[in-house]
């Protein structure tokens, strides 16, 4: 704005060259170069990649943001550099700078331009969230944006969303598959090309389920079912980390998941179901959340009842023993 003001302000010492035009020309060239570099070179490598629908949407959103913000950043840098170079104080120059006057056109253009950018990004972000069914983020127990697919908790057919319950606990995620007999496992395996519904919860403190390459991230809160959706689009391995400081071994709370073909997924579920057959009946009935502080009466044996061990809450000792730090 100052440059244009100066360009239109008669000033003996500084009004010669058309500063505004110069700055515009330099800016437009550099902005185009920056956007071309971002769009053609950087964009394919922007994390989290393209391993899932949500990852692709995330990468696309970040690319759009970068393409729109790069010209703004380039303008600031060009203007800053131009001002330092051209308008710096010369030796012996003790005069004040020229007065700056308002310019209704530039002010209006600035307000309109920035408003359009912000509103466009808001609209773009909202559409992206809706279009990608939450874009891999936790949507709470009643998701607004979910894929239109029939869901059964007792069986699964291709085309339906796979139900995977993510159970956070210090310091490991375990995964439960209610559509395949309700087994629980430490392995996260999902099929390519199928919608997956992650039902994320915790049985102790707050964790956060972060499947990095899938661009899925949902807080794991006790007594809350936090639902996130994604559709894996590439075979391979992805990293799962806890993204919420959850105790001494928070840093060790990570593992690796796998995206496999549908036949491989079916074979894996069948084998795991058999392998876990001896512990699956010991698990609580599948539910969206679990409360370990209460063990159902029918699940407690006589010795446990006599000993008063009818809770898995961890508070068995008298309150004064041990003393809280």
């Amino acid at each position: 704005m100052a440059a244009d003001s100066q360009a239109t302000t008669p000033d003996a010492g500084r009004s010669g060259p058309k500063h505004g035009l110069r700055i515009f020309l330099v800016w437009i060239v550099l902005a185009i170069v920056a956007d071309l570099l971002i769009g053609l070179v950087l964009a394919p490598h922007i994390p989290p990649g393209k391993m899932s629908s949500s990852a692709e949407d995330g990468q696309q959103a970040i690319t759009v943001m970068a393409l729109m913000s790069a010209p703004v950043m380039v303008f600031v840098l060009v203007y800053f550099t131009y001002a330092l170079t051209v308008w710096r104080q010369r030796d012996g120059d003790e005069d004040d700078g020229p007065p700056i006057h308002g310019h209704a056109g530039i002010q209006t253009g600035w307000i309109v331009g920035t408003s359009v950018i912000v509103l466009a990004l808001a609209a773009f972000g909202t559409v992206e969230l809706i279009d990608s069914h939450g874009s891999g983020g936790g949507e709470g127990p009643v998701p607004i944006w979910k894929p239109a697919a029939t869901v059964s908790l007792t069986s699964w057919r291709p085309g339906e969303a796979i139900q995977v319950q993510v159970i956070g606990q210090q310091w490991k995620f375990t995964y439960r598959y209610p559509q395949f007999g309700g087994f629980e496992t430490t392995q996260l395996v999902i099929p390519e090309g199928q919608w997956v519904q992650f039902n994320v919860t915790s049985i102790d403190v707050i964790h956060s389920f972060w499947a990095y390459q899938l661009s899925v991230k949902a807080d794991a809160n006790p007594n809350v079912n936090n639902i996130a959706f994604t559709k894996p689009t590439q075979l391979g391995q992805f990293t799962v980390r806890c993204a919420e400081l959850c105790g001494l071994w928070h840093g060790a709370m990570f593992d690796y998941g796998r995206v496999v073909t549908v036949p491989q997924f079916r074979a894996w579920t069948a084998a795991t179901r058999v392998f876990m057959a001896d512990v699956t009946p010991m698990l609580p009935a599948y539910a969206t959340t679990y409360d370990p502080t209460v063990i159902p009466a029918f699940r407690s044996g006589p010795v446990m009842k006599k000993l008063g061990l009818v809770s898995a809450g961890g508070g068995y000792y008298p309150p004064q023993d041990p003393v809280q730090p």
Binding site: P284, V303, M304, G313, G314, Y317, D321
Partner: protein, 228 residues
């Protein structure tokens, strides 16, 4: 006060502060529980026999009411208050764990499943088990878990009301009702420190039972150090 005295006093005070800080760092932050070495004198390919016990309390620390593991020194056969031990990379590790603590339900019964051992099984007092129901039966005292190698073994406990009311009262325990667990696994080939933890909420009185001894290295959490 003359200038040399002032400078000397300042120097001494500065050194005292630095020395104090170094002492605090070394004594409180860098000090850890002892490491019991199972690698010395072991030929390549030879199995090592690691012996542990878990007690309902310990008199070997300033937290006598915290449950804790102890590791037996292979040379002296003395019990060491720690849960840090060193094994050779790639070696077969034969574990014997004496469970002196009483039974407790797991927060997640899933951890009643034996995984990561040779044969995915263990023995309690000679009887082979693949899973224990810690909610229904008085059978699980703690777990011995090394998550990074998918090792999880529920530790047996005394099973009757009478036994659980007469647990060993002096640690390290040498008598009293207990269960003897045995299992084997192959140590990782990659040297490094591998987290060992318990999955029973045995930090009684702390949030979700996972504070106190559950987050104090040498009690119910520790490390298996794998040496090349």
């Amino acid at each position: 006060m003359s200038l040399p005295v002032r400078v000397g006093t300042l120097l001494v005070a500065f050194l005292a502060v630095v020395g104090g800080a170094i002492f605090v760092v070394i004594h409180f932050f860098l000090a850890g529980p002892p490491v019991v070495d199972y690698t010395s004198g072991v030929a390549p390919g030879q199995a090592v026999n690691v012996v542990l016990q878990e007690d309902p309390q310990n008199q070997a620390s300033n937290h006598p009411d915290w449950v804790s593991y102890f590791v037996q020194d292979p040379k002296t056969k003395q019990w060491v208050h720690t849960l840090v031990f060193k094994v050779p990379a790639g070696a077969r590790v034969n574990m014997t764990i004496l469970g002196y603590d009483g039974c407790t339900p797991l927060r997640n019964p899933f951890w009643g499943k034996v995984t990561g051992t040779i044969g995915n099984s263990a023995t309690i007092d000679g009887k082979t088990v693949r899973a224990l129901d810690s909610w229904k039966t008085c059978s699980v005292g703690h777990t011995f878990s090394i998550p990074s190698i998918n090792l999880n073994v529920p530790m047996g406990s005394p099973t009757t009301v009478a036994e659980n009311n007469n647990l060993c009262g002096t640690s390290p325990c040498t008598s009293g009702p207990h269960a003897t667990m045995k299992f084997s696994f192959i140590a990782p080939k990659t040297p490094g420190s591998y987290l060992v933890q318990c999955r029973v909420p045995c930090g009684g009185g702390y949030v979700t039972g996972f504070g106190g001894p559950m987050q104090a290295i040498g009690f119910m959490t520790g490390q298996m150090e794998v040496a090349s």
